[in-house]
Symmetry: C2
Subunit: 99 residues, 2 copies
Amino acid sequence: MQAPDETMLERMENLLKIAGDFTRLKILYAIMDGEKSVGEIQEEAGVSQSLASHQLRVLKEANLLSMRKEGKKVYYVLADNHVRDLLEVVYNHVSEENL
Amino acid sequence: MQAPDETMLERMENLLKIAGDFTRLKILYAIMDGEKSVGEIQEEAGVSQSLASHQLRVLKEANLLSMRKEGKKVYYVLADNHVRDLLEVVYNHVSEENL
DNA sequence: GTTAAATATGAACAAATTTTCATTTAATGC
DNA sequence: GCATTAAATGAAAATTTGTTCATATTTAAC
Protein backbone atom coordinates (compact mmCIF):
# COMPACT_ATOMS: atom_id res chain seq x y z
CA MET A 1 0.00 0.00 0.00
CA GLN A 2 1.10 3.46 -0.88
CA ALA A 3 1.41 5.74 2.15
CA PRO A 4 -0.47 9.05 1.96
CA ASP A 5 1.67 12.01 1.02
CA GLU A 6 3.19 14.27 3.66
CA THR A 7 0.36 16.77 3.58
CA MET A 8 -2.22 14.08 4.15
CA LEU A 9 -0.17 12.53 6.89
CA GLU A 10 0.08 15.89 8.58
CA ARG A 11 -3.65 16.37 8.44
CA MET A 12 -4.19 12.89 9.78
CA GLU A 13 -1.73 13.58 12.56
CA ASN A 14 -3.56 16.75 13.41
CA LEU A 15 -6.98 15.16 13.52
CA LEU A 16 -5.75 12.31 15.69
CA LYS A 17 -3.94 14.67 18.02
CA ILE A 18 -6.99 16.79 18.48
CA ALA A 19 -9.21 13.83 19.16
CA GLY A 20 -6.59 12.33 21.46
CA ASP A 21 -7.29 14.34 24.56
CA PHE A 22 -9.41 13.36 27.51
CA THR A 23 -11.10 16.70 27.95
CA ARG A 24 -11.87 17.03 24.29
CA LEU A 25 -13.23 13.49 24.12
CA LYS A 26 -15.57 14.29 26.98
CA ILE A 27 -16.70 17.40 25.17
CA LEU A 28 -17.28 15.51 21.95
CA TYR A 29 -19.41 12.93 23.71
CA ALA A 30 -21.31 15.67 25.50
CA ILE A 31 -22.62 16.90 22.18
CA MET A 32 -23.01 13.53 20.49
CA ASP A 33 -26.77 13.77 20.66
CA GLY A 34 -27.09 17.30 19.43
CA GLU A 35 -26.14 20.85 20.07
CA LYS A 36 -25.47 22.15 23.54
CA SER A 37 -24.52 25.50 24.99
CA VAL A 38 -21.07 26.05 26.45
CA GLY A 39 -22.59 26.02 29.92
CA GLU A 40 -24.24 22.67 29.36
CA ILE A 41 -21.07 21.28 27.87
CA GLN A 42 -18.86 22.33 30.73
CA GLU A 43 -21.29 20.79 33.18
CA GLU A 44 -21.65 17.52 31.32
CA ALA A 45 -17.93 17.23 30.69
CA GLY A 46 -17.10 18.32 34.22
CA VAL A 47 -14.56 20.96 33.33
CA SER A 48 -14.09 24.63 34.14
CA GLN A 49 -15.63 27.37 32.06
CA SER A 50 -12.30 28.49 30.76
CA LEU A 51 -11.11 25.04 29.86
CA ALA A 52 -14.32 24.23 28.05
CA SER A 53 -14.04 27.41 26.07
CA HIS A 54 -10.39 26.87 25.18
CA GLN A 55 -10.95 23.31 24.05
CA LEU A 56 -14.10 24.16 22.15
CA ARG A 57 -12.05 26.60 20.19
CA VAL A 58 -9.47 23.93 19.42
CA LEU A 59 -12.18 21.56 18.24
CA LYS A 60 -13.83 24.28 16.22
CA GLU A 61 -10.60 25.32 14.53
CA ALA A 62 -10.05 21.73 13.54
CA ASN A 63 -13.51 21.79 11.97
CA LEU A 64 -14.85 19.08 14.21
CA LEU A 65 -17.50 21.42 15.58
CA SER A 66 -19.61 24.23 14.34
CA MET A 67 -21.36 26.83 16.41
CA ARG A 68 -24.30 29.16 16.51
CA LYS A 69 -24.99 32.14 18.72
CA GLU A 70 -28.33 32.83 20.30
CA GLY A 71 -28.60 35.65 22.75
CA LYS A 72 -25.93 35.33 25.38
CA LYS A 73 -25.48 31.68 24.65
CA VAL A 74 -23.33 29.87 22.15
CA TYR A 75 -24.30 26.45 20.92
CA TYR A 76 -21.89 23.88 19.55
CA VAL A 77 -22.61 20.82 17.41
CA LEU A 78 -20.54 18.11 15.79
CA ALA A 79 -19.58 19.31 12.35
CA ASP A 80 -20.35 16.02 10.64
CA ASN A 81 -20.57 12.29 11.07
CA HIS A 82 -16.91 11.60 10.47
CA VAL A 83 -16.26 12.43 14.08
CA ARG A 84 -18.86 9.95 15.20
CA ASP A 85 -17.39 7.30 12.90
CA LEU A 86 -13.91 7.93 14.14
CA LEU A 87 -14.90 7.67 17.78
CA GLU A 88 -16.81 4.52 17.05
CA VAL A 89 -13.84 2.81 15.44
CA VAL A 90 -11.64 3.87 18.32
CA TYR A 91 -14.18 2.71 20.86
CA ASN A 92 -14.45 -0.66 19.20
CA HIS A 93 -10.73 -1.04 19.16
CA VAL A 94 -10.27 -0.36 22.84
CA SER A 95 -13.25 -2.43 23.91
CA GLU A 96 -11.76 -5.46 22.25
CA GLU A 97 -8.46 -5.00 23.99
CA ASN A 98 -7.55 -7.81 26.29
CA LEU A 99 -5.60 -6.27 29.13
CA MET B 1 -25.92 8.55 23.64
CA GLN B 2 -24.19 7.42 26.74
CA ALA B 3 -20.52 8.45 26.88
CA PRO B 4 -18.03 5.65 27.54
CA ASP B 5 -16.84 5.42 31.11
CA GLU B 6 -13.62 7.07 32.24
CA THR B 7 -11.51 3.99 31.73
CA MET B 8 -12.70 3.57 28.18
CA LEU B 9 -12.19 7.25 27.47
CA GLU B 10 -8.66 7.02 28.79
CA ARG B 11 -7.92 4.07 26.55
CA MET B 12 -9.40 5.89 23.60
CA GLU B 13 -7.35 8.95 24.43
CA ASN B 14 -4.26 6.84 24.58
CA LEU B 15 -4.85 5.11 21.28
CA LEU B 16 -5.57 8.40 19.52
CA LYS B 17 -2.52 10.05 21.06
CA ILE B 18 -0.28 7.27 19.97
CA ALA B 19 -1.62 7.27 16.45
CA GLY B 20 -1.46 11.04 16.33
CA ASP B 21 2.21 11.49 15.60
CA PHE B 22 3.84 12.03 12.25
CA THR B 23 6.74 9.66 12.82
CA ARG B 24 4.54 6.93 14.14
CA LEU B 25 2.11 7.32 11.26
CA LYS B 26 4.96 6.92 8.83
CA ILE B 27 6.07 3.81 10.66
CA LEU B 28 2.57 2.36 10.63
CA TYR B 29 2.26 2.90 6.90
CA ALA B 30 5.69 1.42 6.39
CA ILE B 31 4.46 -1.90 7.68
CA MET B 32 0.95 -1.75 6.26
CA ASP B 33 1.74 -4.45 3.74
CA GLY B 34 3.43 -6.82 6.09
CA GLU B 35 6.26 -7.24 8.50
CA LYS B 36 9.51 -5.36 8.14
CA SER B 37 12.73 -5.25 10.08
CA VAL B 38 13.67 -2.19 12.08
CA GLY B 39 16.26 -1.32 9.48
CA GLU B 40 13.76 -1.44 6.66
CA ILE B 41 11.30 0.58 8.70
CA GLN B 42 13.73 3.34 9.52
CA GLU B 43 14.68 3.60 5.90
CA GLU B 44 11.13 3.66 4.60
CA ALA B 45 9.97 6.10 7.25
CA GLY B 46 13.10 8.20 6.86
CA VAL B 47 14.00 8.43 10.51
CA SER B 48 17.07 7.72 12.59
CA GLN B 49 17.78 4.33 14.05
CA SER B 50 17.20 5.51 17.56
CA LEU B 51 13.98 7.29 16.78
CA ALA B 52 12.59 4.30 14.92
CA SER B 53 13.42 2.08 17.84
CA HIS B 54 11.90 4.43 20.41
CA GLN B 55 8.69 4.85 18.49
CA LEU B 56 8.41 1.18 17.67
CA ARG B 57 8.50 0.54 21.37
CA VAL B 58 5.72 3.06 21.94
CA LEU B 59 3.59 1.43 19.25
CA LYS B 60 4.33 -1.99 20.60
CA GLU B 61 3.46 -1.06 24.17
CA ALA B 62 0.15 0.27 22.92
CA ASN B 63 -0.40 -3.12 21.32
CA LEU B 64 -0.59 -1.71 17.83
CA LEU B 65 2.35 -3.80 16.76
CA SER B 66 3.76 -7.16 17.49
CA MET B 67 7.27 -8.34 16.88
CA ARG B 68 9.37 -11.35 16.16
CA LYS B 69 13.10 -11.86 16.40
CA GLU B 70 15.13 -13.67 13.82
CA GLY B 71 18.86 -13.67 14.17
CA LYS B 72 20.12 -10.19 14.62
CA LYS B 73 16.99 -8.70 13.16
CA VAL B 74 13.67 -7.81 14.69
CA TYR B 75 10.53 -7.78 12.59
CA TYR B 76 7.46 -5.74 13.39
CA VAL B 77 3.90 -6.19 12.10
CA LEU B 78 0.58 -4.49 12.69
CA ALA B 79 -1.08 -6.24 15.59
CA ASP B 80 -4.47 -6.41 13.95
CA ASN B 81 -6.80 -4.81 11.46
CA HIS B 82 -8.21 -2.22 13.83
CA VAL B 83 -5.20 -0.07 13.13
CA ARG B 84 -5.84 -0.28 9.43
CA ASP B 85 -9.51 0.58 9.95
CA LEU B 86 -8.67 3.51 12.14
CA LEU B 87 -6.22 4.96 9.68
CA GLU B 88 -8.68 4.47 6.90
CA VAL B 89 -11.42 6.39 8.69
CA VAL B 90 -8.98 9.16 9.50
CA TYR B 91 -7.71 9.26 5.95
CA ASN B 92 -11.24 9.51 4.59
CA HIS B 93 -12.04 12.31 6.96
CA VAL B 94 -9.08 14.43 6.00
CA SER B 95 -9.41 13.77 2.31
CA GLU B 96 -12.92 15.14 2.34
CA GLU B 97 -11.85 18.28 4.09
CA ASN B 98 -12.47 21.42 2.16
CA LEU B 99 -9.69 23.78 3.11
C1' DG C 1 37.16 -14.14 22.55
C1' DT C 2 37.01 -10.18 19.08
C1' DT C 3 34.64 -7.87 15.80
C1' DA C 4 30.74 -6.25 13.28
C1' DA C 5 25.84 -5.52 12.55
C1' DA C 6 21.18 -4.74 14.29
C1' DT C 7 18.48 -3.03 17.75
C1' DA C 8 17.47 -1.11 22.37
C1' DT C 9 18.03 2.06 26.12
C1' DG C 10 18.73 6.24 29.15
C1' DA C 11 19.55 10.82 29.92
C1' DA C 12 19.21 15.47 28.36
C1' DC C 13 17.14 19.00 25.79
C1' DA C 14 13.76 21.42 23.12
C1' DA C 15 9.30 22.13 21.96
C1' DA C 16 4.52 21.58 22.34
C1' DT C 17 0.39 20.93 25.13
C1' DT C 18 -2.90 21.28 28.79
C1' DT C 19 -4.68 23.69 32.53
C1' DT C 20 -5.47 27.53 35.64
C1' DC C 21 -6.21 32.20 36.89
C1' DA C 22 -7.43 36.71 36.09
C1' DT C 23 -9.44 39.66 32.99
C1' DT C 24 -12.35 41.00 29.03
C1' DT C 25 -16.00 41.08 25.75
C1' DA C 26 -20.86 40.54 24.38
C1' DA C 27 -25.65 40.39 25.18
C1' DT C 28 -29.57 41.12 28.04
C1' DG C 29 -32.70 43.29 31.47
C1' DC C 30 -33.50 46.86 34.56
C1' DG D 1 -26.39 54.09 32.20
C1' DC D 2 -25.37 49.76 35.56
C1' DA D 3 -25.58 45.00 36.87
C1' DT D 4 -25.69 40.29 35.52
C1' DT D 5 -24.94 36.23 32.86
C1' DA D 6 -22.46 33.60 29.26
C1' DA D 7 -18.48 32.92 26.84
C1' DA D 8 -13.82 34.16 25.17
C1' DT D 9 -9.10 35.49 25.76
C1' DG D 10 -4.13 35.98 27.26
C1' DA D 11 -0.43 34.95 29.94
C1' DA D 12 1.81 31.91 33.12
C1' DA D 13 2.56 27.57 35.24
C1' DA D 14 2.67 22.67 34.94
C1' DT D 15 3.12 18.70 32.40
C1' DT D 16 3.93 15.81 28.61
C1' DT D 17 6.16 14.65 24.30
C1' DG D 18 9.45 14.04 20.62
C1' DT D 19 14.08 13.93 19.30
C1' DT D 20 19.01 13.43 19.61
C1' DC D 21 23.23 11.68 21.28
C1' DA D 22 25.98 8.50 23.36
C1' DT D 23 26.16 4.03 25.08
C1' DA D 24 24.60 -0.73 25.92
C1' DT D 25 22.85 -5.21 24.56
C1' DT D 26 22.25 -9.12 21.49
C1' DT D 27 23.39 -12.20 17.92
C1' DA D 28 26.24 -14.06 14.57
C1' DA D 29 30.64 -14.70 12.08
C1' DC D 30 35.33 -15.30 12.23
